[in-house]
């Protein structure tokens, strides 16, 4: 997009994010890029209607990667391809490849259950199990047959999720006795207890109040050292605050059939996406002119 050079930078600023902070975070970000996921030509369909078409991108180890875009752009569908959650929907079909450590996740020898052990997920709405706080965190290790040191494992996961101090005296209490923000951190702890490699977060803070949102975002920064995080968010400020890399998805409407298909418009370092996007559609979106 040649016009971008002449566009005044002030026009692409967004509320709550100043360029200086973005630049600082860029400095602090990981310097080496190890490719963890290599997505090539990925198309995901429901009942043979594509929801997302021909996406190719790389996700780097120990990065926080954000997927942003308007509703219906397929970002949630996309994140569910990484742990094969779409397998649970009988009509869903995924074409193309996702290489994870060089291994095709959709290859014939790969078991979706094994994939989900390595690649954890946190959902939009906190979904604790109707069990005690302890049993929620212990569920993952138990289904994997890790019986030894369960107490320590639960404690460590709760500490990592910054929830330990709030719940250490009531581990046997129902998970539903926690507030929404605490429940979401419990879900993160539950995910951490199985020692995944990657944490997928599908709009993890959209059902939470601003204070809980901040605590989840702080948590993500802390977790980045040990985990690779992929987050879907409809909140641009959130992407700008937490993500190293940002992918912008949009909706393509076919005039004839009125079918809406998600496409990847632009994928770059977060500061670039927010301050100097290469595509007009990205600029319109991040400046609030669209969506």
């Amino acid at each position: 997009m040649p016009d971008m050079e002449s566009a005044p930078p002030a026009a692409v600023r967004i509320a709550g994010v100043d360029d200086k902070a973005l630049a600082e975070r860029q400095e602090a970000g990981p310097t080496r890029r190890d490719v963890l996921f290599d997505v090539a030509g990925l198309t995901a369909s429901y009942s043979d209607v594509p929801a997302l078409r021909d996406v190719s991108l790389e996700i780097y180890k120990n990065y926080i990667t954000a997927f942003i875009g308007p509703s219906g752009c397929g970002k949630s569908t996309f994140i569910r391809c990484f742990n094969r959650m779409n397998d649970l929907i009988p009509t869903a079909k995924v074409e193309g490849t996702i290489l994870y450590h060089g291994l095709d996740l959709y290859g014939p020898e790969v078991d979706s259950v094994e994939v989900r052990k390595r690649i954890g997920m946190v959902f939009q709405k906190p979904n604790p199990f109707p069990k005690s706080i302890y049993d929620n965190v212990a569920f993952g290790p138990r289904v994997l047959g890790w019986k030894e040191g369960l107490d320590e494992r639960v404690e460590q996961a709760l500490r990592q999720a910054a929830l330990w101090n709030e719940v250490k005296n009531r581990l046997k209490a129902s998970a539903y006795s926690l507030s929404g923000g605490q429940q979401q951190r419990l879900c993160i702890a539950r995910c951490l207890a199985v020692e995944p490699d990657v944490i997928l977060m599908d709009e993890p803070a959209s059902a939470l109040d601003p204070i809980s949102t901040t605590s989840i975002e702080d948590l993500m920064h802390g977790l980045k050292r040990d985990y690779t995080i992929v987050i879907v968010t409809h909140n641009m400020q959130q992407a700008a605050r937490v993500a190293d890399m940002t992918a912008f998805f949009s909706v393509e409407v076919d005039e004839e059939s009125d079918r809406r298909t998600g496409i990847l418009v632009e994928y770059d370092e977060t500061p670039t996406i927010f301050t100097n996007p290469g595509d007009k559609r990205t600029e319109d979106y991040v400046t609030g002119r669209f969506g």
Binding site: M85, L88, P90, F123, N127, P130, F139, V143
Partner: protein, 291 residues
């Protein structure tokens, strides 16, 4: 925003009268059922209380109303309920799990199965009796024994248990299944450790109510050969009788004393029924889940 003060709090008289009339109509509907049940209870209690003595529970049927008891009938009913419980719960819950968690609705045979079960729930109990006579008593050569009676009651309430269990399983939110899958649980683990425990209160309540229906059934038992006169305690493969059959037989007798005895039998039957229903209500309240 300006509303004239006079417009507030005014309502046409007709509206009030109609509302009042509707409320009275509702009260009448409620009281019809209530008065009928109350009359029945008072009537039965008045007549039967005199015969509600230890003899009723310790003695077998007799031609002398003062020495006649219902011991074989009460035991027969209890034995049948125990067999029923042991057979119907695994079958019913198993079918419900298959239909809710495993069956692919796209397949014609699964839809046929569902349709069948819904229709079975509406089949009159006498038809089950004929089936029992033809298939269990004669076809399998079981003879007119307690086991045949228990099995035919099992078939009778199986659809009810399936429907109640399906409702309970369906009420478990999908977010819980997804959360468990995302931790690397297999389908079996998701069902056994999350869905079933969460559905147990509903399943238990439904099963008890189904059992309460079976306990009062007379027609199918008469067909599979519940005898009206049994002098010894029932055994699994011996001749048997049940409480409703005994009551039916007593009422059919010309002597007034036997009618009073029948009333005493009805009190026992009602007491068992009300206890079971109360237990079901207690279970439901005790384990009521808020997701």
């Amino acid at each position: 925003m300006s509303v004239p003060a006079a417009a507030v709090g005014r309502r046409p008289r007709g509206d009030k009268i109609r509302g009042r009339a509707f409320y009275v109509l509702l009260l009448v509907s409620v009281s019809v059922g209530f008065v009928l049940l109350g009359t029945l209870l008072v009537d039965v209690l008045q007549k039967g209380i005199g015969y509600l003595d230890p003899i009723l529970f310790t003695e077998p049927a007799s031609a002398n109303p003062d020495r006649a008891g219902a011991r074989p009938a009460i035991l027969g009913t209890i034995y049948m309920m125990l067999i029923l419980l042991v057979v119907v719960v695994p079958l019913g819950v198993g079918t419900a799990i298959y239909l809710e968690e495993y069956a692919n609705r796209e397949r014609w045979y699964n839809r046929l199965l569902e349709l069948n079960i819904q229709n079975l729930a509406a089949v009159p109990s006498i038809v089950y009796g004929i089936l029992g006579l033809a298939f269990l008593v004669r076809g399998l050569g079981l003879g007119r024994v307690l086991l045949a009676g228990a099995l035919i009651l099992t078939l009778l309430v199986l659809p009810t248990v399936i429907v109640a269990s399906r409702e309970a399983i369906r009420a478990v939110p999908d977010s819980i299944r997804q959360g468990a899958y995302a931790l690397g649980a297999t389908q079996w683990q998701v069902v056994a450790r999350q869905v079933l425990p969460a559905a147990v209160p509903g399943i238990a309540t439904g099963s008890i109510l189904a059992l309460a229906r079976a306990i009062g059934e007379t027609a199918p038992l008469l067909l599979v050969g519940a005898l009206t006169y049994v002098a010894v305690d029932p055994t699994l493969l011996g001749s048997f009788t049940a409480l409703p059959v005994q009551i039916y037989q007593w009422i059919a007798r010309p002597q007034d004393e036997f009618r009073l005895l029948a009333a005493a039998g009805i009190i026992v039957l009602l007491a068992i029924l009300l206890t079971m229903n109360a237990f079901a209500i207690w279970l439901r309240n005790r384990y009521q889940k808020r997701w």
